[in-house]
């Protein structure tokens, strides 16, 4: 037995379209994610990262290969709700995932569906709202909230199910910088304090840099899988598939190209500053 919460084995998937030949989106993905990990999945548009995410939650089922979440085969229909309770999913547009016109009732939606009794539900809803710092807004209408607040409500709706793992599909793409900070703060807190496994799909490099592990996808394949530091040092490779690296990493890379002796394994501004100071003092 392993402590892998997500196991993806040789996953293939293609979308069927009427006019064209089916196009293969995922071409043999192998990926294991351990319990409590904080993983970012990076990739260009059309790299298959969202499709991969939808497999973890059994919204899509593999054409071939297997996906296991907490030991549950995603193609096992009998355990579908158990699976979805275990692996919650948050989407890009907060407006399109909020069901109710009252914040606390939306957070309760999943629990209502699962038939959780009232006392238990009340407690879990309040806990979830407190975890995302939205308790004071519990009786508001979502229409009165900002984008970041709405996304936090959507996250609370998932947290209320007490999942072991949360998959977030570009949760900050539609938010302003303030909203992004709030949402990232909540996600990191969930991972650190509750040990919830996080799979964060993003195209913001600075968000990926905050994760413990970065998986880079291109054209339906995993091409890099390592710590952020190691992944972002592959500057040329990242650029080739149309991805950026954090600005500081790029600066170091350019300096190195210009013949200056500097490590490209830096991802934070502070590291960059230290490195440059050291270099100038030489």
């Amino acid at each position: 037995m392993t402590n892998n919460i997500i196991e993806i084995k040789d996953l293939h998937f293609s979308y069927n379209s009427e006019d064209k030949k089916p196009s293969e989106v995922l071409k043999g993905i192998n990926l294991d994610i351990k319990e409590g990990e904080f993983v970012a999945i990076l990739g260009h548009n059309g790299s298959g990262k969202s499709t991969l995410a939808k497999h973890i939650n059994a919204i899509l089922l593999p054409a071939s290969g297997k996906v296991f979440v907490n030991g549950i085969d995603t193609s096992d229909e009998n355990r579908l709700f158990e699976l979805r309770q275990c692996a919650g999913m948050v989407f890009q547009n907060p407006d399109n995932q909020i069901v109710s016109s009252i914040v606390e009732e939306d957070v309760a939606f999943a629990l209502e569906n699962l038939g959780v009794p009232y006392e238990e539900m009340r407690k879990r809803v309040d806990d979830a709202l407190k975890a995302v710092n939205m308790y004071d807004y519990r009786l508001h209408s979502p229409a009165q909230l900002s984008g970041g607040q709405k996304q936090r409500v959507a996250i609370a709706g998932i947290i209320a199910m007490r999942p072991k793992c949360i998959i977030l599909d570009e949760p900050t793409a539609m938010l302003d910088p303030q909203g992004r900070r709030e949402v990232m703060g909540v996600i990191r807190k969930m991972n650190r304090e509750q040990g919830v496994t996080i799979v964060l799909i993003t195209h913001y490099m600075d968000e990926a840099a905050q994760c413990g592990r970065v998986v880079v996808m291109d054209k339906g394949k995993v091409i890099l899988d390592n710590t952020p530091r190691a992944v972002f040092s592959h500057v040329a490779e990242m650029k080739k598939i149309g991805l950026d690296v954090p600005q500081v990493t790029e600066l170091a890379w350019e300096l190195k190209k210009a013949g200056i002796d500097i490590s490209t394994e830096i991802i934070t501004e502070q590291e960059c500053v230290d490195m440059l100071v050291k270099l100038l003092n030489k």
Partner: protein
């Protein structure tokens, strides 16, 4: 600008009428409507009016709101009155000129109809003024739940209704955005004849429809992710509890109804 539109006519408050169980409020309103329609004379209407006035005073909602609720049906009231005056030909003649003949009965019936409809509107407005649309939907779902046995999709209807309520502000906001975007591209929405304006609306409605379908698709996925599986075995966060005051209110309404019936029988 569009954002200011309020949904329904809910007037938030903390009065005893606001705090009544919405299910009871609906039933009481139905009893009230029955009372108005069983009443055949002015005494019955007076009983109805008395009931309405007490309820309005207790709800602490300004009277001008109720006057506003009558306004849209005013032409209809007027028409009913005129038709009754002209076409009721029994009773003592008050005035006669060529084919027009106005009788005491005609006048009586018109006044009676006006009061009855006015009371009807005021009473049912009180329900929507004191109950938020979402609570109302919830209460209707629970009241109709026995119909599930004969395969009426009560839960599904209520779910659709509440999602519609939830998305009204979102869609209004979106309409605003599309209008600005189309204006920025030179579309003339606020000018021109009625026909051109109607035609130009297409430029707003089509993007709105397309995006609504996309929203619907995403919402459906998000609901599935949260284990939505229809109405079976669902529990609810919102608990509707009926207390003594609800039963008392219902008893009072039924007492008024009984009084109207008694008056009807005596006056016959």
């Amino acid at each position: 600008m569009l954002k200011d539109i309020t949904i329904g006519q809910f007037f938030p408050g903390e009065s005893i009428i606001h705090r009544l169980d919405p299910r009871f409020k609906i039933v009481i309103t139905l009893v009230y409507i029955l009372m108005l329609f069983t009443g055949e004379n002015f005494i019955c209407l007076a009983i109805g009016a008395f009931f309405t006035i007490i309820a309005i005073v207790m709800s602490k909602i300004p009277l001008k709101m109720f006057i506003k609720s009558i306004k849209p049906i005013f032409p209809f009231l007027l028409l009913t009155a005129i038709l009754n005056i002209l076409f009721v030909r029994t009773g003592d003649v008050l005035f006669e000129w060529r084919f027009i003949k106005i009788t005491v009965d005609g006048v009586n019936i018109s006044v009676f109809m006006i009061i009855r409809i006015t009371l009807l509107i005021m009473g049912s407005s009180l329900l929507t003024y004191t109950t938020s649309p979402i609570t109302l939907t919830d209460a209707i779902e629970r009241l109709l739940s026995p119909l599930k046995k004969i395969k009426v999709p009560v839960h599904e209807l209520a779910m659709m209704m509440s999602i519609a309520l939830r998305f009204i502000p979102t869609l209004i906001e979106e309409t605003d955005k599309i209008m600005s975007a189309q204006k920025a591209r030179g579309a003339e929405i606020d000018t021109g004849s009625l026909m051109t304006r109607a035609k130009n609306l297409v430029a707003i409605l089509i993007p709105l429809f397309v995006s609504s379908f996309r929203r619907a698709d995403e919402l459906a996925t998000a609901m599935e992710c949260r284990c939505y599986n229809g109405g079976e075995g669902r529990t609810r966060l919102r608990q509707l509890k009926s207390t003594t005051k609800d039963y008392v209110a219902l008893a009072i309404a039924i007492a008024f109804y009984a009084a109207a019936i008694v008056v009807n029988i005596i006056m016959k």
